[in-house]
C-alpha cells in the first residue's frame, strides 16, 4: 500500500449532484484553477440521482411562483427555523439554473406553448416541474465535466480534512477502496458535496443497504465537517420519509399527485390535505399508520388507464426504476390495488428536511476555505435544484478564495495520525467484522433515536454509541472494500452521536414527527425559536449551542404561519 500525494486548488468531495456543478462553476470562474472531483463510487453513476430524477420539487419559475412566496412556504414548512437569506438566494437563482440545465440538454416538461408545465404539490405555492425524461441527468453532468477539463478520481473515500495552524482548510486525506492506498491531497479549498447521512437508521426490512438514500451516502461529509471544527445545524430535525413499505423508496406522491393520486388510509379515504413532505405531514401519516384506520396507502386505482400508463412510464424508468419490478413481484397493479406505505428509518439530510452543515448564502461553512452544497448543506428542503444552485455558489466562492490565498503547508502530525487510523483495521487480526458492527450500531439508532423521542432512551443510546466507539478500533478489514465500510462506520457513529446530542439539547417539540419529544410535547417559541448548532469544541468534545434566527427578510402573516399545522382533513359532521 502506497501513500500518494496530490496538489490542487479546489477539491470537490462527492461527484453526485452538487459536486459536478461546483467543479464546473469553479472552472468557469477561473479556467486556470486545478479542480479535482473526488468520488467514492464512479462519477458516471454516483449519488442520489444515479438513475436520474423524475422532477424538480422546488422550481421557482416566473409566472408560476415568486421567490418571496417560496421563502414563505419553506419558512412555514420548516416551522420557522430557517436563515431566510439562504432560502432566498436559492429562490432567486432557481430559474437561471433551470435555464442553464435546459441549455445543457436536461429535458423538463413543457406545455403546448413552450412554457414550463409546473404542478402544484406544496400547501401554498406551485413549484413541481416534472422531468419525464430525467434519466439522463448524470450523462449531462459528466459531459460538462469533460468539456471543462475537470480532473476526476473515482473510488476514493475522504476520511479527514487537513487544517492549517489557524484552522483553515489545507486539503484532505482519503483511502482507495480498491487498493487501500492512502492519499494526501493538498488544496486551498474543499467543497463538501457528499450527500445525506442515509445509512443512519436501519430499514425495517433489516437489509442494511435497503435504505431510502443511496446507501453509499453514509454521512461521511457530516463527520468530515465535524472533525474540521465546522458548525452543523438542525441535526435534531431528522429526515423521515413516507415510502413504499419494504421496498423503502418513494412511491412517489409528487409525481402521482398532479395526476390525481393521493395518500389514503385503509378505507381509501384521503386524510391529509397536502402530500408535500414535511414534519407535520409525517406526524399525520404516523398517526394514521398507527391508528385504527391504518395502515397508509398511495391510491391510484381510481385513475383512467392512460393516466396510469403515464405514471408507470415515469416511475418505472426514473430515480428508482426497480419499484416496478417490486410491485410486479407482489402482484400489485396500480389499476386494481393501493400501494402499501410505511415510514422510513431516520437519516440526516437538508435536501428533504433541515439537518446539515451550516452554510451562509455563499455556501461558506464556518471553517475558512470549506464550502458545502447539496443534501448535507443546511438549506432546508433544498432538493436537487437546490443542490445545483448551492453547488454553483460553492464553486464560485471557492474560486474567489483561491485568488487571495496561498496553498497552506501540510502538518505531518495530522497525516501520520490519520494514516494510522485508516490503515488500522488492516492490521487487526481476528477483529470484529465491520458488517456486524454496523448492524448493531444502526439497530441501536432505531431503538433509541427513532421518534417519538424519549429523553432517557436517547441518554441510553449515547452510552451505547460510546461503547461502540470502543469497538471501532477492534474492527478488522480483510480487503480494501471492507476497509471502506469500516471507515464509513466511524462516520455513521459520529452522526448517531450528533443526532442524539442535538435532540436532547432542544427541549421542545418541533417539525411534527421529525423532533417529537414525548416529555416536551409542545412547541416553545419563547425559548426555542433558535437554531441548534453542534460543533467539536476546543477540548475535542461534542458541544451544542444556539444561534439566533436572523431577522426575516420576508414577513409571514398569521394565516400563513399556521398553514402547515392544519394538514389533517377535518370532516364535516353528517347532517342529522
Amino acid at each position: 500500500m502506497n501513500t500518494i500525494e496530490m496538489e490542487v486548488d479546489v477539491l470537490v468531495i462527492g461527484g453526485g449532484t452538487a459536486g459536478p456543478m461546483a467543479a464546473a462553476k469553479a472552472k468557469e470562474k477561473n479556467p486556470a484553477l486545478r479542480v479535482l472531483v473526488m468520488e467514492k463510487a464512479n462519477v458516471k453513476r454516483s449519488g442520489a440521482i444515479s438513475m436520474g430524477m423524475d422532477g424538480l420539487n422546488n422550481a421557482v419559475i416566473p409566472g408560476h411562483a415568486t421567490p418571496e412566496q417560496y421563502v414563505k412556504e419553506i419558512t412555514v414548512a420548516n416551522d420557522g427555523i430557517v436563515n431566510q437569506k439562504t432560502v432566498m438566494k436559492y429562490a432567486t437563482s432557481s430559474f437561471d439554473m433551470i435555464q442553464e440545465l435546459d441549455s445543457w440538454g436536461v429535458k423538463f416538461e413543457k406545455d403546448e406553448t413552450g412554457d414550463y408545465a409546473v404542478k402544484k404539490v406544496h400547501h401554498i405555492g406551485t413549484y413541481v416541474l416534472p422531468m419525464p425524461e430525467g434519466h439522463n441527468m448524470k450523462k449531462v453532468l459528466y459531459r460538462q465535466l469533460k468539456k471543462r477539463r475537470v480532473e476526476i478520481t473515482n473510488r476514493l473515500m475522504a476520511t479527514r480534512l487537513l487544517l492549517d495552524e489557524g484552522g483553515a482548510i489545507a486539503g484532505a486525506m482519503a483511502v482507495d477502496s480498491r487498493t487501500a492506498d492512502f492519499y494526501v491531497i493538498r488544496s486551498k479549498t474543499v467543497i463538501l458535496a457528499t450527500g445525506a447521512a442515509g445509512r443512519l437508521g436501519m430499514p425495517s426490512s433489516g437489509y442494511l443497504f435497503g435504505t431510502y438514500e443511496n446507501p453509499t451516502n453514509a454521512g461521511d461529509g457530516y463527520s468530515l465537517a465535524y472533525h474540521a471544527g465546522a458548525e452543523l445545524s438542525g441535526i435534531e430535525c431528522f429526515q423521515i420519509n413516507p415510502l413504499i413499505k419494504d421496498y423503502n423508496g418513494p412511491s412517489c406522491a409528487y409525481v402521482t399527485g398532479p395526476f390525481g393520486g393521493y395518500t389514503a388510509n385503509a378505507n381509501g379515504d384521503r386524510f391529509i390535505e397536502c402530500d408535500y413532505w414535511s414534519g407535520q405531514m409525517m406526524m399525520e401519516f404516523y398517526k394514521e399508520l398507527e391508528g385504527g384506520n391504518g395502515p397508509v396507502f398511495l391510491k391510484m386505482d381510481h385513475l383512467a388507464e392512460e393516466t396510469i400508463s403515464t405514471i408507470e412510464e415515469i416511475l418505472h424508468t426514473n430515480e428508482r426504476p426497480s419499484r416496478g419490478r417490486f410491485h410486479e413481484g407482489r402482484g400489485l397493479d396500480y389499476r386494481t390495488g393501493m400501494v402499501e406505505m410505511h415510514i422510513s428509518e431516520i437519516g440526516l439530510c437538508s435536501g428533504h428536511s433541515g439537518s446539515g452543515v451550516w452554510v451562509n448564502e455563499h455556501a461558506e461553512t464556518t471553517v475558512p476555505g470549506l464550502y458545502a452544497a447539496g443534501d448535507l448543506a443546511c438549506v432546508p428542503h433544498n432538493y436537487m435544484l437546490g443542490a445545483f444552485v448551492y453547488g454553483k455558489l460553492a464553486g464560485e466562492s471557492a474560486a474567489e478564495y483561491c485568488a487571495s490565498h496561498a496553498l497552506p503547508p501540510v502538518d505531518n502530525a495530522q497525516v501520520e495520525a490519520e494514516r494510522k487510523r485508516v490503515w488500522g483495521p488492516l492490521d487487526v487480526v481476528d477483529g470484529l467484522p465491520p458488517g456486524q458492527v454496523e448492524y448493531k450500531l444502526r439497530r441501536m439508532v432505531n431503538d433509541y433515536l427513532q421518534p417519538p423521542k424519549v429523553t432517557r432512551k436517547m441518554e441510553i443510546g449515547l452510552q451505547r454509541f460510546a461503547e461502540i466507539e470502543e469497538d471501532l478500533s477492534r474492527m478488522s478489514a480483510t480487503n480494501p472494500h471492507e476497509l471502506m465500510r469500516a471507515m464509513e462506520i466511524h462516520a455513521i457513529r459520529d452522526c448517531a452521536e450528533m443526532a442524539a446530542q442535538a435532540s436532547l439539547y432542544r427541549k421542545e417539540s418541533r417539525w411534527g414527527l421529525y423532533h417529537y419529544r414525548v416529555d416536551y410535547p409542545e412547541k416553545n417559541d419563547a425559548d426555542w425559536f433558535v437554531h441548534v448548532q453542534v460543533k467539536k469544541d476546543a477540548n475535542g468534545n461534542m458541544s451544542c449551542f444556539t444561534r439566533p434566527i436572523e431577522p426575516y427578510i420576508v414577513a409571514l402573516d398569521e394565516e400563513e404561519k399556521t398553514a402547515y399545522q392544519k394538514l389533517r382533513i377535518v370532516k364535516e359532521p353528517a347532517a342529522a
Binding site: A41, R178, D246
Partner: protein
C-alpha cells in the same frame, strides 16, 4: 475470534453466456455505486461479490450485452 459462514442469495445475477468480461468489459463493476460487483478471473464473468445492493439498476441498464439482471433483495421482496 472464530467466524461463521452464512449463506445468502444475492439480487444481482449475471448470464455467463452473455457476459463479455473475458473480452475486458468492466462496465457493471465500474458503474455500481456500492462497488459490490467483481470479475471472476477464472471464469471471465462478472458476479455480485458483496451483499450490499441498493437495487438501483445502473449495472443492468449500462450492460452492453444485457447479461446483468437486478432482482429485489429477498428480504424486501
Amino acid at each position: 475470534m472464530t467466524y461463521a459462514l452464512n449463506r445468502v442469495t444475492v439480487p444481482v445475477t449475471v448470464d455467463e453466456e452473455k457476459c463479455i468480461a473475458a473480452k475486458g468489459c468492466t462496465v457493471c463493476v465500474d458503474v455500481c455505486p456500492l462497488d459490490i460487483l467483481a470479475i471472476d478471473l477464472a471464469k471471465g464473468t462478472a458476479y455480485m461479490k458483496f451483499d450490499e445492493c441498493w437495487y438501483c439498476m445502473p449495472c443492468e441498464k449500462d450492460c452492453p450485452t444485457g447479461a446483468v439482471h437486478v432482482d429485489i433483495p429477498y428480504l424486501l421482496r
